[in-house]
Symmetry: C2
Subunit: 440 residues, 2 copies
């Protein structure tokens, strides 16, 4: 097992899509391999690649190790000469069982599987700790951005107030196009599909489910708590209209789909929804398919990490960073203990949340409408900060920004507005996110 | 030494200015200490604080451990019951000797000392490795921003093309004020001094020396090389005029003092100078005293880390992150091997560098001047990309952007321009930094 005086760490890879193929190339390209040994001080050897289809073309690169491909995934995990399993299958099963078996047999695991980690991460962490092996998953959230390591290590002693992230590149691309080019949602998604940023069935992205899994993982690390996926309130971007994004721009805001984990007292609000951010906020200018995570800590102040959230090479880069860390630990005979999940933070119900809101209403263009509408806001305790009216023939559009208000009061306001004869439609309803929230 | 089943790691602190006082509070505040044990899984105890002046007031907080203060710094390092030395003295000596003694005796060291690490970092790393103890210095560059850990760990397997950082908050504050409010350099620096962002003698900041030390540290980590401070070309911001910053804004650029480490072939260009960045670049909107570091890697793509680069609490947060890491390693009986410094990259001479340039000239407002000036550019092989002329009574100002040109050609151009009767003064000369540079 010795190679140039160093122990060689042997890798079994499960799954070989974009990320797996990129990683295989990084690990087997002779120049890259030499660099790795020299720079990172570890020697790693890819010994097997488990896939479901042996015939699929994986890479154009001449050094792609086709001879390592096998359909026997269980066999790879069982191999005694494999030190580390890299799981890039995605989905809950068979990934969950394979990782469990790997950890059980004392193998370290590197995974990029957000869905599995959001659902079973804490159980897998406990298993890893009991076996004294590493479980690393930097690539599960925001691709190449080192947010997991930052939360686990750099900020291990930090009291974190809030984490807010643009963690889904597909929706950020769509919102950027709707904002910059005034595209309708349907046209923007079609463009995203054409360019390979969106799947044929984009629902996991546009409904916010992908971001919700990442929110659960980030919240768990930020607050050292067990945060279940069922604690994450999830709203996607399918109801957003480009006209509302245009109003938001005009008012000095940018609309982003945010994954938010916010501590309030003994509880936490973990949620995914479109949000209006002041243009001066560092997240506001994160455009196209880029990702970024903004962390607010008591001592550290604000920290933002920005980079590519997806893509084969960028995600493989994060996997490789983990792999080197795990390999170094194996050579040193140690492992990184997972965070103590000391608390099950109570989920703060969405109806108890306080936010400022953007609201747009299509109304009949006749005298007295604004008075009636304003009365509905007032009688539900929702205070209006600003209002703008624009004419649309025999209709008018009223655009409101509210002061901070309870979700349930805003919901009741909207229900009452819907019942007004003069209100033809409630257009956009978007929460405004600023610097004022969370426990300080 | 056991406390609740865990080993307690005992800390000796050297230096107690803003950062030291903040760290002392974080470590001894009872709530913070309990959180630390629970969250990070380590118990750390501050056992001594070495200072030069016992009478100075350090903190307003009731739990500040005044009883730990001592003037015997050498004694703290020699104490057998101290596991980790935190060095916050700054400067080369006595910090260097104290850290050396600490490492010699097998103590781990956490330091925030950029000057010392730029000058003797590699020697100290070798000593730490030979003693199998940690030497951590996240706080030495860009305060709360986790750039050291990101380069050492997350990007350990990455081929890094270029690192560019806004790593000096004082100069970024001054440039922001000059840009946003049109302040003259002298007025901006006075404001920075009044607000506590600049020292009474600001030369370490405004001449770029502080940034140069950080550039050397970043370059060393990015390229796993020994980069000496003498390899860093250093220009400050003292010659910048707000009129040139205003022209830059109008042309779609932002002017920042950048620390740049760029690989070219077998060499590296490591330098600090003012640079014009396109407004679309993520670094361009990093304003006021904030810091940010932009890393470009082969697989990872662009990554940016943003946050507070200075301030007692923010810097203490970075020290605390290191301290927890070191303490965890001590409990596990391991340490993190420093990067292999496998190469002494040849410094690329500044005169061999290729950049686009911004140049402004005050010239006599008479016919034929532009032709003469253009002829000087052309005869030195410097190609003009765009020119703008504005009248100033009997003078005119010519503002040029060049295509990529050799530094030495631009220098020769300026010398020749200086010799022209029609040129009254050469105003700003600023390099344009874009996406096109470095080895790809």
């Amino acid at each position: 097992m010795a190679k140039g005086g160093r122990k060689t760490i042997r890798i079994g890879l499960l799954g070989c899509g974009n990320v797996g193929a990129a990683l295989s190339s990084l690990l087997t390209d002779p120049v890259g391999q030499a660099t790795l040994i020299e720079r990172a001080g570890v020697s790693v050897e890819l010994v097997a690649i488990g896939v479901n289809d042996l015939t699929k073309r994986r890479s154009d690169q001449s050094w792609f190790p086709s001879h390592l491909l096998t359909k026997d995934l269980v066999g790879i995990v069982a191999r005694e000469d494999v030190d580390v399993i890299v799981e890039l299958l995605g989905g809950i099963e068979p990934a969950g069982s394979l990782i469990t078996a790997a950890l059980e047999s004392g193998k370290a695991v590197v995974s990029a599987n957000k869905a599995l980690l959001a659902e079973r991460g804490v159980t897998l962490e406990r298993l890893a700790e009991s076996k004294a092996v590493d479980l690393a998953y930097e690539a599960a959230v925001a691709g190449a951005i080192p947010i997991i390591r930052t939360l686990r290590e750099s900020l291990a002693g930090e009291e974190i107030y809030r984490v807010m992230g643009i963690v889904n590149g597909t929706t950020n691309f769509i919102l950027s196009k709707m904002t910059a080019e005034g595209l309708a949602y349907d046209d923007a998604i079609e463009q995203a599909q054409r360019l390979g940023y969106a799947e044929h069935d984009p629902s996991a992205d546009v409904e916010g489910y992908d971001a919700a899994a990442k929110a659960a993982i980030l919240a768990g690390l930020a607050f050292d708590a067990t945060i279940g996926l069922e604690q994450v309130h999830c709203e996607g971007i399918t109801k957003l209209r480009s006209i509302d994004l245009a109003y938001a721009s005009k008012m000095g805001y940018s609309v982003k789909l945010l994954a938010i984990a916010e501590r309030r007292g003994d509880g936490a609000s973990v949620r995914v929804h479109p949000a209006m951010l002041p243009l001066s906020h560092p997240l506001a200018s994160v455009d196209e398919a880029m990702n970024a995570v903004f962390v607010e800590g008591a001592a550290s102040g604000p920290i933002m990490l920005y980079g590519q959230g997806a893509g084969g090479m960028a995600t493989a880069s994060a996997v490789l960073g983990d792999l080197i860390d795990v390999a170094r630990n194996q050579v040193a005979g140690t492992f990184r203990a997972p965070p103590r999940r000391h608390a099950s933070l109570a989920a703060i119900s969405m109806t108890d949340l306080v936010s400022e809101f953007y609201l747009s209403l299509d109304v009949a263009d006749e005298p007295g409408v604004l008075a009636k509408v304003a009365d509905v806001f007032g009688s539900h305790g929702v205070s209006i900060r600003s209002m703008e009216q624009s004419g649309l023939g025999d209709e008018a559009r009223l655009v409101f920004l509210t002061h901070a208000a309870l979700e349930r009061d805003v919901a009741a306001t909207m229900e009452a507005l819907n019942g007004l004869r003069e209100v033809d439609a409630i257009g956009g309803v978007i929460r405004v996110v600023g610097d004022e929230q969370g426990d300080r």
